[in-house]
Symmetry: C2
Subunit: 253 residues, 2 copies
């Protein structure tokens, strides 16, 4: 199939970068699962700290790994129709949103049952900001790119903002996870953290892997040579809008 003239090959290096991002992303999810499962007592839904443990796992899985993969669909599925990829992008984001809502419910429920104050920390402020902006970004993306009412001019005007804030939100999500890791180790193992105990080193390594995943996804998405080639009809549309707009750039994200 790869040699067929009908199916253009991926740009040199792209499959390796995508594979690398998946290894890093899965490592983040697995290490979070092991941290909470092995070192912090496992999972439950009973208001105990084991319910809290659902929170980090859902956030890393939803708002980082699946969110990053939702961004990557435009680079991975290069030969599908643009509408199919848009729908896949939106569906990935909805799954990420649902999983992160479960994560939010877990921590608020744990706080309510343990009579712990909500929303006082920088981690919680950044997390709520990320979540709200994520919902706004999804709604705007749906309205502009999937809802039939938006004009091509509006879509083109909004596209670069959508891409920029998509990457800002990924960075915010990763940053918020790092804040959560720091809070968790200081609440749980503050007295032994400075002795390089395995749990502390694992938590730090998770932080660096999350940074690595975010940087790799951002790198793949921003490389000009990795952009999805427009299909013939999209190219015609792009050329048309280049004549209408000054200094226009290609309209595929």
């Amino acid at each position: 199939m790869a040699d067929s003239p009908m199916v253009p090959q991926s740009p040199c290096g792209l499959p390796w970068y995508v594979a690398g991002s998946q290894v890093l992303g899965l490592a983040c999810v697995i290490i979070t699962g092991v941290w909470m499962g092995h070192y912090r007592g496992g999972y439950a839904w009973d208001g105990s700290s084991r319910e809290f443990n659902v929170h980090p796992l859902c956030m890393v899985l939803g708002l980082v790994f699946l969110y990053g993969d939702a961004i990557l669909v435009y680079r991975v599925f290069r030969n599908e129709s643009k509408r199919s990829i848009k729908i896949l992008h939106a569906v990935f984001h909805v799954i990420a949103l649902i999983i992160s809502v479960v994560g939010f419910v877990a921590v608020f429920d744990f706080h309510a049952k343990g009579k712990i104050q909500d929303m006082y920390s920088l981690h919680s402020w950044c997390g709520m900001l990320t979540f709200v902006l994520f919902c706004v970004q999804w709604l705007l993306g749906f309205t502009f790119f999937l809802f039939p009412g938006a004009s091509q001019w509006l879509r083109k005007s909004y596209l670069s903002l959508h891409v920029f804030f998509g990457l800002v939100l990924l960075a915010l999500a990763v940053g918020t996870c790092l804040l959560g890791i720091t809070e968790k180790v200081l609440f749980s193992i503050e007295s032994t953290y400075s002795s390089f105990v395995p749990e502390g080193v694992l938590a730090n390594a998770l932080g660096l892997l999350l940074v690595g995943f975010g940087v790799l996804v951002a790198y793949i998405v921003t490389r000009e040579e990795f952009r999805r080639p427009p299909h013939p009809e999209e190219e015609a549309l792009s050329m048309h809008f280049k004549t209408l707009t000054e200094g226009g750039s290609p309209s595929s994200p």
Copy 2:
């Protein structure tokens, strides 16, 4: 002067975005200064916690505010020669580097005198990573763009990586500051942080302002319409290299 045909005006909105970034950046520096000066006992160089207080101020001033401004010189000084702006960019980074070295010395000296373990936290790992990559980025930037030996082809090949990793490092620096804020409030005011005491709210607000500064600098730098217009001789050079390279983009950062 602004109406002279010899001095092209800035693109619509750019001065406002740059002014906004300066307000946010200065607010970050001032709030850090007030936090350490008013709430944490002020500054000294005696191995006490007042020496530690030099660390956050230097890091926010050097690795965030001046680092961000070093990036912005390409958008602010639009009509100077490219070589002058390159030198200004490198000099700003050297000042940022010197200030951040003072910040590093402050915290290592405080740890040494207080017999506190170094480099065990995620904050310290991210901070050291940022600092080392910043030095590598500076050296590579100097070698490729200021040292006369590098060919135009090498410069052009490296430029997009330099810009990408420059923004990654700004994000890492901001993220590391947020981790430092979280560590500091949990070490200093853990028992009252959840009661929304003024110091905790100020620290959280500082975190959000740092995020705002980073996002605004990244926005200004990545907008196509805010790019520095190439001077006639640079344009000729750019056109020349466009014929040599496939799908070449303009060579000004």
